[in-house]
Symmetry: C2
Subunit: 334 residues, 2 copies
Amino acid sequence: MKTLTSRLRDRRLAQILEPVEAGMEQMRACVSSQLASDHVTVSEMTDHLGSFSGKQLRAALVLLSAHAAGNDHPDLPQVASVIEMIHLATLVHDDVLDGAEVRRRVACVNERWDNQVAVLLGDLLYARAFHLSTTLSSPMVSEVLSQATQRICEGEIIQAGSRRAFEMDVEQYEFIAGAKTATLYRAACELGVAYPAADNPGQVQAMARFGEEVGLAFQIVDDVLDLVGEEEAVGKSVGNDVEDGKVTLPVLATYASANESVRAAIRAAYGDADVGDRRAALRSACDLQAGVDRAMKRAADLVAQANGRLDCLDQGPSKKALSMLGDYVLERKW
Amino acid sequence: MKTLTSRLRDRRLAQILEPVEAGMEQMRACVSSQLASDHVTVSEMTDHLGSFSGKQLRAALVLLSAHAAGNDHPDLPQVASVIEMIHLATLVHDDVLDGAEVRRRVACVNERWDNQVAVLLGDLLYARAFHLSTTLSSPMVSEVLSQATQRICEGEIIQAGSRRAFEMDVEQYEFIAGAKTATLYRAACELGVAYPAADNPGQVQAMARFGEEVGLAFQIVDDVLDLVGEEEAVGKSVGNDVEDGKVTLPVLATYASANESVRAAIRAAYGDADVGDRRAALRSACDLQAGVDRAMKRAADLVAQANGRLDCLDQGPSKKALSMLGDYVLERKW
């Protein structure tokens, strides 16, 4: 049963999506027809992806930005679909990358077969997304999203090479978090305003920054939830970052201001030795509250900065919805 | 030290590539600049890909088909690069899919980290390939190759769902082998002739079929080599198909004409029980020679059929090179 907080959040989301509900419906139909396949083996797998769909905030950003900027190009629901499909592909490949996820799937007969399917299915989603983008009347979506995908992959690769990097500075953390998450938020806002051809570069730039800042705030909150949230409240598994050696903003902030004995205890929680539940070990090794507060402060600052960008838009229901979105991102609870 | 056969093959390949050597050089430079990265972690990985480059037959097919059809569009080396990069991406993801490969990498500190990198690096290659295709003057490459990539992924997914399918018919085998391998051969020939816009549909169709048939022949020979070749002669690890439960054409042919006790022995070699080297178990369970002969006969027939398609081209050095390519594919030795 849903809690009161969760029902309030659902209502908030419905309010945000309200101005573009018709476009969201078209987007969902488009994604679903794109996932269909004549081959039974393939369709069995793509059918399963329906459960991955989530809140579709990226698609909403395309449609809200477009609507707020007075852009009513008929391709926009398809543009939003391409972005959701690329997002879906990254989620499917995260299944392979995320050891915790694989470990939890104890019911699977053969872990390797599952990895195979996840890799191929992700590849298929990327290919379908790019193919859909080539059918649109402007090449802008293919251009922007093939570049965005590169940035996402580079961010993830750099993150994979930055395990247990406790001395990482905040810029480096934000570079990675921005690349892997803010990229699609930025592209969504940019394409919503600019598609099929940018005639107001100032507005496009402002909305790209809005997307970047909201996306980065989203990732910071996500990292905080993974660190101190409870699985039931967050709605997905938690503690994956510590298990995977990812040092996120709240941990970086805690580590930076800790003395050497606390630092050693933090490193041990992330270390080679088997300490059982790594997140629990980390939480008993140090007081994370100040680090969490600093991270949430940064996320709030980013949202405030983002909301300032909305001055480039005229008043209206979609501008209002966009200005609610940042707070929605900040208010995810644990 | 190279054997006489291997040196003769190198000379044969050099002869085939000779008419398009300048374009191949441009293609190699283009791929290499596409793989470069400002990020050290990324460039360390992409540098490593140089060793994957192989014979670049797909790029050669773009350039030879173009040259033979009198197409000298300046984008062609880039078109060839996009195809090679997509091929490279599939190879990198094969690393994840191919359990044998992963098992052989005993030197790796952490198998999971390696899987991560392979998935992300493959994704990055796909994204760069698609991005390069969006910079070309015609959208044809983006369209053809995003569709080709879908077919490759679907073929691989269907193959993953067809493990130990001893009753599979030849059409189903060729559907899978065609999808995963012939697709890029077909696209290479098609784009070489048609880029930037098809003005001779009959010729484009004939060359697409040439590519499809040569590509399928290549895969059949590859499957034969994996079954009965020796690692040193083939130049890569063998026996992976039996390990992975893939029932290829020579095995299908053997199984179809075997009595029930031999069939049971074949199934046991592929079965759940640990039989050590599965390929060795299979080879002692049955006489594969007749099946190998039938598979090689099919490959030779495909090459003969393919060579007939070349009637659509005028005489010249590139047409001659294309007609040598099928024999080159058939003559891979074990």
